[in-house]
Symmetry: C2
Subunit: 272 residues, 2 copies
């Protein structure tokens, strides 16, 4: 079945253009390849009210999953858990399971450095284990701050850290299996060809025709050069149950595209 | 003064993780360096109702500017203008100024290839010039689809193409001067240092102290490795009128950071 996901990326660094949002890209790619449907990606600042209102808006659109990135760490600007508490109208409280996870990571860290192994649960460390009521901490295999799961009104929300390696590790361990199960035998397939010697305006009616002749196939043109020789990537996608043979449908649509484009003096090159 | 901007990126390719959203990054960086405040970035699919609702939601937050990317081309999936028409409750109509721009670009294209110079205004070409009523076409210096400007309720919305080179060219020519004027002498300054030998939990109270001692300075820690030796980028920013000497304020805060971190056995390295 179609499984809808929203991604919410929390972090001023994304809004000031300090870094490219590779987390959103990575999550969108993984979720899509698993057969899920990423419906919206929102980037918001490290501000409690912004987080709360953005999460409330996403919840109102009723996705099966929401994945947030960023804002789980020990510093003042890590405000995701406060924002979630406001969004879901829940109190924040120290979660003992999360606290044990934080303590364990700190212990491993000092032990590996032959430092004194008495762990001080300082306020910044306790902060990472202070979750909205009834939230479930998720093991972070490679970092200190646990991920967080909150189930609410048919939506499962996962809050992941912003550090890409930690975000990816938690996704792979805790979210991927859940997504796979929710998606079932629904799959996403894609194929690309490159088209030369043809501007997008001339390709447009051929896209209309092929999509008409091949229900379920979505074809989108991506002009790669806006000047000089026209060069277009034509990207075909389909989402369907595997028994509907989506790969064959794409193949048939690609064959029709190739024939039509060549009839119109375009040139077709294979992509991936 | 503080000038708020929202960026809305329209395109399925961003939601399926086909490409990284470099347009959002580029726009966020440019706007920030010009002194403006990017408040939200939203990525939505090529769907009229999604575009309309997203724009309405952004308008309700009353930013001075909204910049959209993508969806202005000749193919069926280019739906930004339809979405804007729904959002603003305006009819779509062929804009003669936009049509002349499209015709001119087609003319230049065929002329440069020694092709027949009689331009056929086919439906895909007319589509690029079919704008919401009272919208203003904006010259696209290097591509066919004009940009579009719509003024509404104190917000100026610019719709730009998704092809990065075209988006950047229109921004530089038409939006940058307007932003500069709106921002006035408000500036954004930033400095970074790298911190070694100190985990984020131990850095957290030092950040609190420096921010307390240096009003207006925002300090955010970015852990670069989650395993092995801790390595953190500490990024300091400030937005202020230039007469408030923001660069000096950052310098003072950095000096305090360096002293405090070294007192706590951390090591500080200069970044950019």
């Amino acid at each position: 079945m179609t499984v809808g996901i929203e991604v919410v990326c929390i972090g001023n660094e994304l809004l000031i253009g300090k870094i490219v949002n590779t987390n959103a890209y990575w999550l969108a790619r993984q979720a899509t390849l698993l057969g899920a449907d990423v419906r919206r990606i929102t980037v918001i600042p490290d501000a409690v009210e912004e987080i709360a209102s953005c999460i409330r808006e996403a919840m109102a659109r009723k996705p099966q999953f929401i994945v947030t990135t960023g804002g789980l760490g020990p510093t003042f600007d890590d405000k995701t858990l406060q924002g979630l508490a406001v969004a879901f109208n829940r109190k924040l409280e120290v979660n003992q399971k999360a606290l044990a996870m934080v303590k364990q990571r700190c212990f491993e860290y000092v032990k590996s450095r032959q430092m004194p192994t008495e762990i001080q649960l300082t306020p910044p460390r306790v902060k990472m284990a202070t979750l909205p009521q009834d939230a479930e901490p998720i093991n972070n295999p490679i970092g200190t701050a646990p991920g967080v799961r909150i189930d609410m009104a048919g939506t499962v929300l996962f809050a992941l850290p912003g550090v890409p390696s930690e975000m990816e590790a938690i996704f792979n361990e805790a979210i991927e299996p859940l997504l796979k199960k929710a998606v079932g035998d629904y799959v996403f397939c894609e194929r690309s060809i490159f088209v030369d010697n043809m501007v997008e305006s001339r390709l447009a009616p051929l896209i209309d025709q092929v999509m008409h002749d091949n229900p379920g196939v979505y074809a989108k043109s991506h002009p790669m050069h806006s000047e000089g020789k026209p060069h277009i990537e034509l990207h075909l996608t389909i989402r369907a149950n595997s028994e509907q043979e989506p790969a064959n449908k794409l193949k048939k649509a690609l064959e029709e595209f190739t024939r039509l484009i060549e009839e119109h003096d375009g040139k077709v090159y294979p992509a991936f």
